[in-house]
Symmetry: C2
């Protein structure tokens, strides 16, 4: 999917919501555990109930790998279901990968070719030659960690390098990489004022924003400082949406939560 197509979808649906499919078998409704593939059944129900309200889904690979082969199979079925039934949806493998060049190419093949995701998240620590292999894939997007929403973000990401915080240096440096137009960035929503600074460095790239809701960020504030001309934001909600109810009505409850977020987004987009 191209960035232009993503923006078109956002405007059509009046939504820049991404739903995180972080399926924990201890948290899903008990009745699903009797089915053959509880993870996929859960995802399918969530997708069926919410796809008109969001523009992206983001399974975090950790939740699938934790269940071994069965987990990987559920991930494969989920992305196939999305690609077949909802090709207009932007798909994100939240995998936070990164390795030396040759090895990053293998990861890129895993997520862009074998699983056919539109995008994958990557970590910046190993630098240019660990990220460029992902950027080489046409119409695929590489979403690099910049400023994350967890406490540990302040261990290294905000340390001062060259009179700049490390995450800003990461943003700045990455702009010079080959095919950097295929970069998006993860920016946590815990401090909305950071977005103004970030937009000075990357005015147009899409930002994937976790931490609105459960992790405490504020949607209005994030949009005020972070929105770009082409919207440029994907706001992620995981637990708050998919675990809105633990009962048989879980999919409807997820849809209600997603609708509330989408209505806020619609109001912002139409301002």
């Amino acid at each position: 999917m191209t960035t232009q197509e993503l923006t078109t979808q956002i405007k059509k649906k009046n939504s820049f919501l991404c739903i995180g499919l972080d399926v924990d078998l201890n948290k899903i409704p008990k009745h699903l555990l009797d089915s053959k593939d509880p993870i996929f059944e859960f995802n399918k129900a969530i997708i069926d109930a919410t796809h008109h309200l969001c523009v992206a889904y983001k399974p975090n690979t950790a939740f699938y790998e934790a269940y071994g082969i069965k987990g990987w199979q559920a991930l494969e079925k989920t992305i196939q279901y999305l690609n077949y039934n909802h090709p207009e949806i932007f798909t994100i493998a939240d995998a936070k990968r990164g390795d030396i060049g040759n090895t990053s190419t293998m990861y890129a093949k895993a997520f862009f070719e074998d699983l056919a995701f539109d995008s994958v998240t990557v970590a910046p620590y190993m630098g240019k030659d660990s990220v460029e292999p992902f950027l080489a894939f046409k119409n695929k997007h590489t979403i690099m960690l910049a400023l994350t929403s967890n406490k540990g973000a302040f261990d290294f990401q905000t340390l001062s390098v060259n009179n700049n915080e490390l995450y800003k240096q990461v943003l700045e440096t990455s702009k010079s990489w080959e095919n950097s137009e295929n970069l998006m960035y993860v920016v946590g929503a815990t401090k909305a004022e950071y977005f103004a600074e970030i937009r000075k460095i990357v005015p147009n790239n899409f930002l994937l924003v976790p931490g609105v809701g459960a992790q405490g960020g504020n949607l209005q504030e994030v949009c005020k400082y972070g929105m770009s001309e082409n919207v440029g934001l994907l706001i992620n909600s995981s637990r708050g949406t998919i675990y809105a109810s633990k009962n048989k009505d879980f999919a409807q409850a997820a849809a209600l939560d997603a609708l509330e977020l989408q209505e806020q987004m619609k109001a912002i987009l139409n301002k």
Copy 2:
């Protein structure tokens, strides 16, 4: 496996060699491609031929994920084969994972419980709460990226923060984390003199050292500066060993290459 047991194995085998099982179907001998599971057959042959010469094996997960479910199955079979036949071997999932706390716990379960590896590599960018969930597992080891062997290492890892290079700050900070005795570090062998500096910060932790051989590091130099009282080094060789021959004699060729490295290590240990 405890660190003490690892050191015991090193002294018994006169080797601190780790063999990287980075299986690329384009590089393995053609005749294996006819078998039901070429990746596992390749690994099994390499393990059978080299297990007496090394103390650790390190499959890089990228090479398995690139082949989807079949790849993940081959990874599972490989670790099961190792754990069943060679419980004395230290196993490393080279996965470079890391995410917010709850999610890192899922990764830790994937590699420590579901696949039963002794250790996993992680990335430091997200800080303390992204790594501590791995450290909480008893007798399991978390190998954090410090200074990698690729060119991109100089993009961020060697930038100056607090009058210190970032990778040194990463080492220093990580010492205060809970269960930090379960930490090992990835330190590339491209510049041996770095090891002297690193040993001032982490005198005893094991260092996993890629880049001897193919990537240009020198074994003697690395040992001169990097060896600790309990040896404290695992030197990794991947391509140089497992692809020593592309013909039917590939396993014997790998064993010859491993033997050469092991003999150099023996000489160093007995000095």
